[in-house]
């Protein structure tokens, strides 16, 4: 990101923009930890091609309550971070306030739907353990 001084007439930082930046940064730092756990557990532990788990191994893995909590937390944080990132990209198009509010509502709905679908997926698999 180019760090240039705000020029005369440049947009000022808004309260919501600053809040979104803070949440993006906090969720991003949390993701560095959660993603490392996810990647190591799913791709660097199992001795197989690409480190991928078989069906039985996946069911066994997700059946562990601690793993279930970590993966659920990962899903929530990665979705929050993704929606904030998409918001930032879409806002780069210079939308009106009204359009920005619509984008906010749409991304909130998409984020909630993503987390709900992920929870159903993980919950169904955990119930097969």
């Amino acid at each position: 990101m180019a760090h240039t001084a705000p020029r005369a007439g440049a947009p000022k930082r808004s309260g919501s923009g600053s809040g979104a930046f803070r949440w993006t940064a906090v969720s991003g730092v949390a993701l560095l930890v959660l993603l490392t756990i996810h990647m190591v557990a799913n791709h660097f532990v199992i001795e197989s091609v690409g480190g991928l788990r078989s069906y039985r191994q996946v069911i066994e893995y997700i059946g562990d309550p601690l793993i279930l909590v970590v993966e659920t937390l990962f899903l929530a944080v990665v979705t929050l971070h993704a929606m904030l990132g998409l918001r930032s990209v879409i806002f780069d198009f210079g939308l009106s306030d009204r359009a920005q509010r619509r984008v906010d509502r749409g991304l909130t709905a998409l984020g909630v739907a993503t987390v709900v679908y992920g929870l159903v997926l993980v919950g169904t698999l955990a119930s097969r353990a």
Binding site: R13, G17, V89
Partner: protein
């Protein structure tokens, strides 16, 4: 002895902006500017890379959920997928994914640190250091993934 140069009002403005925390304002915001790397600073290239890798990772998030949905269809569906996912081409795509994760994650860490007021005067050195660490991690991951195939 030369007389001191008159104070440049822009310098004070620049200093104030550097001390501010929060999202960093950029020259010429907008998607068109992401592609224009002519005479751009390292910071602009890093910003563009973060946007592209971020969009790629959002696409991957939904692709990943779709692939994991195969697990709901049982063991045979998952085994069929593993047959494809363990081919050299797909293992290569795994390495590409890790490249995106490392670039986005480590550059994002730099942005968060600079935006929070840490090391705001050393962001280029920070970027180069983090990308070097990323390169080493990518090499290790690539050897592990491709070596398993």
């Amino acid at each position: 002895m030369p007389s001191p140069r008159p104070a440049d009002p822009g310098v004070e403005e620049l200093k104030r902006a550097r001390e501010e925390t929060g999202p960093v304002l950029r020259k010429g915001p907008g998607p068109a500017a992401w592609f224009d790397v002519r005479r751009r600073s390292l910071g602009h290239i890093a910003f563009s890379l973060n946007r592209f890798t971020g969009l790629g990772l959002v696409f991957y998030l939904y692709l990943h959920l779709a692939v994991l949905s195969l697990l709901l269809r049982g063991e045979s569906a998952w085994s069929s997928f593993l047959g494809i996912a363990t081919t050299p081409v797909f293992l290569g795509l795994d390495v590409l994914l890790i490249f995106g994760l490392l670039v986005h994650g480590l550059n994002g860490l730099r942005v968060a640190m600079v935006g929070s007021g840490f090391a705001s005067n050393r962001q280029k050195a920070l970027y180069r250091s983090l990308m070097t660490i990323g390169g080493i991690l990518l090499l290790g991951a690539a050897l592990h993934i491709l070596g398993s195939g």
